[in-house]
Symmetry: C2
Subunit: 340 residues, 2 copies
Amino acid sequence: MTTRAASVKTPFFMPVATRGAVKSLEPAEVAATGAQVLLANTYHLHLAPGEKTVKKLGGLHSFSGWNGPILTDSGGFQVFSLAHVRKITEDGVTFKDPASGQMVVITPEKSMQIQLDLGSDIIMAFDDLTGLDPAKAKVRTEEAVERTHRWLLRCIAEFNKLTAKTPKAKRPLLFGIAQGGLNKELRQKSVEFVQSTEVDGLAIGGLSVGEGTKDMHDMLEFLAPLYDPTKIRYLMGVGEPGNLKFAIEHGIDMFDCVLPTRNGRHGSVWVSGDKKLNLKNGQFAASKGPIDKNCDCHACQQGYSRAFLRHLFKAADPLAGKLASLHNLRYLQRICEDYR
Amino acid sequence: MTTRAASVKTPFFMPVATRGAVKSLEPAEVAATGAQVLLANTYHLHLAPGEKTVKKLGGLHSFSGWNGPILTDSGGFQVFSLAHVRKITEDGVTFKDPASGQMVVITPEKSMQIQLDLGSDIIMAFDDLTGLDPAKAKVRTEEAVERTHRWLLRCIAEFNKLTAKTPKAKRPLLFGIAQGGLNKELRQKSVEFVQSTEVDGLAIGGLSVGEGTKDMHDMLEFLAPLYDPTKIRYLMGVGEPGNLKFAIEHGIDMFDCVLPTRNGRHGSVWVSGDKKLNLKNGQFAASKGPIDKNCDCHACQQGYSRAFLRHLFKAADPLAGKLASLHNLRYLQRICEDYR
């Protein structure tokens, strides 16, 4: 996949740099795990420090020190999952900034402006998400899919307007998001709609939000034959090794997920065979070996023992979460490399 | 100064690795600041994971990944400052482990055993500390000095017993601690007593515990002509740039302090001229420059802006505290290097 920042190899996994940085990690450390593209959150960066400040400081790359491609999400998922007071209308979403208490409005047009100001290399269309509440699901899912499509057209129009003076090669990519919950008819309609537009990539949104693994895999299997071979496919929010493998084998090119870093900070690490260990467990108190003797991550190669890591977790030293994050990120990158 | 782990250049500053690691930093990152020797806390490591576990894992160097010399304090200061329930007798100190609630006894002999089991390269004698409470100070200070001297003799005897089979070159160094509060007569007596024993170094304890700068400097000035030129001098707990300079100019070789790392984690950094800035301040919200344009630390050389660091502090990302810690550690090491 070619972006204005660099060309990258698929399939790939994007570490989540919520506020521009992957928690506790320096850009060079993230790159050393094999990461090629970072994901940053529009919602968080819009609230603080604000896209105008980031722009003034030279954009996200210069601000954060990450020189590779950056994808920004549209803010839709965070409004859905984090904002407590929100109102969705045809125009966009209104929610309360938890920090300032002020009401904030994000529309498809606003999302394009924010992401362009941030200096993103891969911009996501602003979508309307539904939860999995079965009582509301049927009506809301269809409504949300239709709205997501109308919003996509507004995103494309605004994106084209705002980038009109930018030479094609210097423009970011724009991805559309297909929704539809667990309804196959709606999903097919949505994938086909997104692919019929001029977007550079197709994202599958609204999966990995609490449905079972079987439901997710069923849907990925169903969608696989529908993909346009000329467009990149991005499965949003997926990062469990098993799901990653299944999705890669069903045509997915890109992933992002907070799991490797969030789990890592809580002491949970993947080891050979996709097994999970919790480094805080007492069984590791005198364990001399590294997290995984087959692993080539920084933490394992430096020879930090499970006992030392457990000790650091017990002492609440952020170094523990950092090393476990690096391990988990490398674990997922290795899966991607194996498929390449 | 020559230790069994390596020879190091004086004057030097020891970063504090309370539980074997300098909070949020890898050993190689600490070494890159110019640090030659780490200080680890006997009190904390005795409570968790315990010196027997550390010994089983190959000692502190192997456990923590720090290959240079390690100094362990005796535990006395932590019992004085951290343990709420404690009883001091001629035998030693009894206190309550805040985590387990169990009563723990540390005697001069026990302190030697713990530090030797940890694998320390520079072992501190177990001392009796007094606070600065003026009501108790006179009697207690004299009593504490006398006891510190009796305990030093017990430490030396136990150290010699436990290391009897170790060739001289493979033995750790042993330092005695002079006490005496702000009483010059007692201080002189204590310095002379410690220097009259076979210890390798003289530590000045019980300063930088809340007395004013003037009182501390007065005492350092008073003690300077009394030092035995054949023994290394270590001023415990000092790390303010001004105090470091004053002490170096008055014959001190070694320092340790939590300030550079603790302050760093709270956003406070030293910049040229020993000024302090707080990176959390709003004034840095759009500040493009590094912490200090004259600084050669990792954070400044990588070009992380004050604005980015402020943003990370606001987001409670441990990366902020890590980078500020590295900056502050380098600040103190540069002072030491300048004097060398």
